[in-house]
């Protein structure tokens, strides 16, 4: 493993400045040198629009990096830095201040670049500074933790290969139940497939519905597809941290699988930064000329519709739906029309968001912001711009094509009480699929193998406890109730449940504390925990990694089919892990 971060943990100002000189490309120099401080970028930024804070204007934010260019590189600035606004870096505190700007005040969404008469690439300059800071170990804890996991495990959620394969096996059973086709499969490492599908680890860990929808679509299209057993993570924290070496490493992991398997093309699931990093950036970082094409799953689905390989019935999605353009797809990836095509074919009432396409505003969770809990409150404050955009459409549901955006939008919808669900485009397409075979088994069915298992429900809201326990008991599970964190811990010790549903925001001992204690207790650590919460602090558990992350996550208000699916998933995987191994021929 190699990392750009200094292993000694010491901060070197000289190294930082030397690194700055080394990282200067022609485009970066032009973006540094061209800005005339006209301020036309100011109101293109959602941070500025939501706060009115002049320090949030893109030109000011990038000036915090440009100062170094002016002092170190600019001809006049080297003689008289004060005259051109130059200032070199001389102390660690300056680097800490810079971290707040480049990680905490900019999602590198590049909206300002499209507003700038010069095209100053703020995202490029912000990423350059992030890379230099990350190399010094100065970055949000979540970014460093996730980057480390990508280096060490090959995926951003540190999912073991066994967990990954078991989840796919479980999903394959779900697919067979959904399609009624006992031959339906999620092939692993199938040689010479036409499509090698790489996904966001969130789809394995927390959002299997989008992966299930993708599998349904591949199945309906009769696609010759496969997923690799390793190198399956399309996300890339190298893009967020500015660490080109990590970016190259993650890209290469995935590319090597397509080459190894003899795949015809790589298809990237709906992940904005994953698509950008995998298709556009990582081949350059890795110095690879790829022998296969890469496309977004959106493009694949459009091709299926256009060639008649799948048929869609829009009446299956009757509610008004709007679309949020992920920055990395629209501005940095050129994909704007494909999701609209799909939604217009899969939904009865598609409503355009204003502004849209390349001018759409960031969800506020981009650029790795979801993993930076240090800046959560600021993120939610500036998300007002997106909340207003969604409200203005009058839509009752939001579609997007990025898991990061799903999380960002979910948080802001909760914060601004908008009450509109967010799903990926493929989920709408999956619902609208016209398939010959009837739906046989619902997602909410509980198989005999897990009936009678015990689930501990921990929540301070009596109504929620009654609702969750009734739902679980109606599906053949035994439940134990706890009204607060302390009771929950006690019940976990006494009852040794097969799974726990845990609220986060509870008076007294918080869910985060309970979860940390459960994970730290050798006897209780293996009990699967599903977080059921409306609290945004959940993201801390996912990204900060003081202990292994939760096994599931369900938003409040609870969608019963999601809760049941999550509970069934953890119980079935636990059951399989306990059962003697049996090969399935894959």
């Amino acid at each position: 493993m190699t990392s750009a971060a200094d292993p000694s943990g010491t901060i070197s100002i000289d190294t930082f400045v030397e690194g700055f000189h080394e990282k200067l490309t022609r485009q970066a120099v032009l973006s540094f040198a061209s800005c005339v401080h006209c301020g036309l970028c100011t109101d293109s930024c959602h941070y500025y629009l939501a706060t009115g804070d002049p320090a949030m204007a893109p030109a000011h934010k990038v000036d915090q990096v440009r100062k170094l260019f002016k002092a170190e590189v600019d001809w006049l600035g080297r003689l008289a830095p004060w005259w051109v606004g130059g200032r070199s870096v001389t102390s660690e505190s300056q680097l800490r201040e810079l971290q707040d700007v480049v990680f905490g005040s900019c999602t590198a969404c590049r909206r300002c670049t499209f507003s700038c008469p010069f095209g100053v690439d703020t995202g490029l300059l912000i990423r350059l500074a992030r890379g230099l800071l990350t190399a010094q170990g100065i970055a949000p804890a979540g970014v460093l933790a996730v980057s480390k996991d990508q280096w060490e495990t090959g995926n951003q959620m540190a999912i073991s290969q066994q967990d990954y394969l078991e989840t796919l096996e479980w999903l394959q059973d779900e697919l067979r139940g959904e399609t009624g086709d006992p031959e339906a499969s999620i092939p692993i490492d199938k040689p010479n497939a036409d499509v090698v599908f790489v996904v966001n680890p969130r789809e394995i860990k927390y959002a299997p519905l989008s992966l299930l929808a993708a599998a349904k679509i591949f199945h309906a299209a009769g696609e010759n597809w496969t997923m690799p057993s390793v190198g399956w993570d399309n996300t890339n924290f190298g893009l967020f941290s500015g660490d080109d070496a990590l970016g190259a490493h993650m890209g290469k992991l995935a590319y090597d699988q397509v080459i190894r398997l003899g795949g015809r093309k790589m298809v990237v699931s709906e992940c904005g930064h994953g698509f950008r990093a995998t298709k556009w950036e990582a081949p350059n970082w890795a110095g690879m000329d790829l022998p296969f094409p890469i496309e977004s799953f959106l493009e694949t689905m459009v091709e299926y519709v256009n060639t008649g390989r799948i048929a869609l019935d829009p009446s299956r999605n009757p509610k008004p739906v709007t679309y949020h353009d992920p920055c990395n797809l629209a501005r940095s990836g050129g994909i704007t029309e494909e999701p609209r095509f799909l939604l217009k074919h899969a939904c009865l009432d598609f409503r355009e968001m204003t502004p849209n396409r390349q001018e759409n505003f960031c969800c506020s969770g981009g650029g790795g912001a979801m993993s930076m809990s240090e800046y959560t409150q600021r993120r939610l404050k500036v998300a007002r711009v997106k909340a207003d955009q969604i409200t203005a459409t009058g839509a009752t549901a939001v579609a997007t094509a990025c898991h990061n955006c799903v999380d960002g939008l979910t948080d802001l919808i909760k914060h601004y009480k908008l009450k509109v669900p967010v799903r990926n485009v493929c989920e709408y397409v999956g619902d609208a699929l016209v398939v010959e075979r009837p739906h046989v088994a619902g997602l909410d069915m509980m198989p005999a193998s897990v009936r009678g298992r015990t689930v501990l429900v921990v929540d301070d809201d009596p109504d929620t406890v009654v609702y969750l326990t009734a739902l679980l008991e109606d599906h053949g599970l035994r439940t134990v109730r706890a009204r607060n964190g302390s009771e929950g811990l006690q019940a976990a010790r006494q009852e040794r449940p097969d799974a726990i549903t845990l609220d986060i925001a509870m008076p007294g001992r918080s869910g985060i504390d309970v979860f940390t204690r459960l994970r730290s207790n050798r006897e209780l650590a293996s009990i699967p925990v599903i977080i059921v919460t409306g609290a945004i602090e959940f993201r801390e558990l996912v990204y900060h990694r003081n202990v292994p992350p939760p096994d599931g996550y369900v938003e409040k208000p609870v969608r019963p089919e999601l809760l049941l699916m999550s509970v069934r998933k953890v119980l079935e995987l636990r059951h399989r892990a306990a059962a003697p191994p049996a090969g399935d021929g894959r």
């Binding site: 200067l24 490309t25 022609r26 485009q27 120099v29 032009l30 973006s31 040198a33 061209s34 005339v36 401080h37 006209c38 301020g39 036309l40 100011t42 109101d43 293109s44 002049p54 320090a55 204007a57 030109a59 000011h60 000036d63 001809w75 006049l76 005259w83 051109v84 606004g85 499209f114 507003s115 700038c116 008469p117 010069f118 095209g119 100053v120 690439d121 298709k279 556009w280 081949p283 350059n284 110095g287 690879m288 000329d289 790829l290 094409p293 629209a330 501005r331 940095s332 990836g333 050129g334 994909i335 704007t336 029309e337 355009e352 204003t354 502004p355 849209n356 396409r357 390349q358 001018e359």
Partner: protein
Amino acid sequence: MPIDVSPFTSMLMDQAQLVALAFMAVVYALKVRWLLRFRAPVERTPARGNEARGVRYAMATIAMPWELPSTRVHWLRWVEFAVFHVGIAAAIGLTFVMPYWPHLAGARPVVLAFQLVFGAATLAALSRLWRRVARPELRLITSPDDVFSLALLAAWLVAGILAAPQRSEPSLVMFFGLTAFFLVYVPFSKISHYVYWPFIRYYVGRHLGHRGAYPTKTVPRHA
């Protein structure tokens, strides 16, 4: 009609300008050489869009204020930009006309036209200066070079108004003195942004055109 000027003024209008211009050309040549020494990252991915179309679009947006969200909303700022830069271009033109073909700018309507353009450009410069003082987000990013460059350009344009009739030697000295100073100062200041403009627009257009993000496909439904 143009007046006869002293040998000093004549030298300032002619030889001094040529020396300053040559200095500027040398510095710019060095600057472009310096710029091209920074590596241009190699693009290894196959294009999804059209790079040439992206470059053409990137270059053309300067004349299409409706294409950029910023100038679409702040269209007066674009008008101000146009007036300001047309004024500067006219003033540059006049510095070549007056020493070598003074009769071309001798007719009263021509003089008035120059004065009108310079006057409008001066107002644009003052408006820009005022905005730098009045708007907090601009005040925060404004450097001494930003203010100095704008103030000197405004002074130069005023000098152009006074010098355009070619009847006052002091005004000619002021105009050409400032011109010579600018020719020496500009390559080191923010005013040299116009040298970078074609380069950055080329790279932005190629980069976004390659990915199919340029030309933009935005369908605006707002003011």
